[in-house]
Chain length 168, copies 2
């Protein structure tokens, strides 16, 4: 893990612990990297109890309850599916904050409409609020797109935890 | 990812694809690193559709069907639980081969009986056969123990795929 990733993940774990909040992850193109960044921190178990690596459409349906009709209508790499993944991760865990990542990491799989480097992120809270971000990282390598996506996902969770109330 | 991890993961994806076999992961102490290693390979979606990051005991029960009584009797870091995680991952996916990893990555959480560096691995096939390995990595860093565990998990899946029949 890059040092900045470690620092961000460490800050996130500390902030969530201080507020008594729990985190979860729903990952497609990052394929476990966000969960790995969180669990790189000793004591992550205080705030992280599970993560979903939903690489296929079937996994998004089975593990997170994403509707098959939504996947057909919008495609897996879409704002709608990112939001549904994040809300589904909340529903299928005890977490207070969930981040979802779905994108085209390449080098194959791109299209004019959804090029390599397009990644949709959503960060959901247990009260149902969802924040969505679309990033277009352009023609970088698969590893670079995945690493940039981890940073974005951590940043969104940090913001969500900062804005959240301490758990009563 | 270290180069050797990339090479092993690449070989594993190629071998599984050639035999029409699918893979899944059930990770505790590696926390998503094995899934991340597989999805680092372009085209991993041909053989990998989901992974389970079951960091807590509750996650092992909810996501993989590990019995609470087994966790209480043997502890999460045990051969029994590693086997149950691997078989549960087969049951909760469409995969032909599943690897499970549960251990004490440290620096805290060790005991005389289960010291830091103790990791149990299990690799299950859809026919119910399970291979178990116990490793004691000794007093290395958390990152070193996790990285060594990824290598061991990939090696066990490589052996399982090599020994398996091509899917009819």
């Amino acid at each position: 893990m890059a040092d900045t990733t470690y620092v961000k993940a460490n800050n996130l774990v500390d902030s969530a612990r201080a507020k008594g909040l729990r985190l979860t992850t729903a990952e497609s193109c990052t394929g476990g990297l966000v969960a790995a960044a969180l669990t790189d921190i000793a004591g992550a178990s205080d705030v992280f109890d599970r993560g979903f690596v939903t690489y296929s459409n079937a996994a998004k349906c089975d593990m997170l309850g994403v509707a098959d009709a939504m996947l057909k209508a919008h495609g897996a790499v879409s704002a709608e599916v990112a939001r549904a993944m994040a809300l589904g991760a909340i529903d299928h865990s005890l977490a207070d904050v969930a981040v979802a990542v779905t994108g085209v990491a390449g080098p194959g799989g791109g299209s004019p409409e959804k090029p390599v480097g397009l990644v949709h992120f959503a960060c959901a809270r247990r009260d149902g609020a969802v924040n969505h971000v679309e990033r277009r990282y352009g023609p970088q390598s698969r590893a670079e797109i995945r690493a940039a996506s981890v940073t974005q996902a951590l940043d969104m969770m940090i913001d969500a935890v900062d804005a959240a109330q301490r758990r009563p």
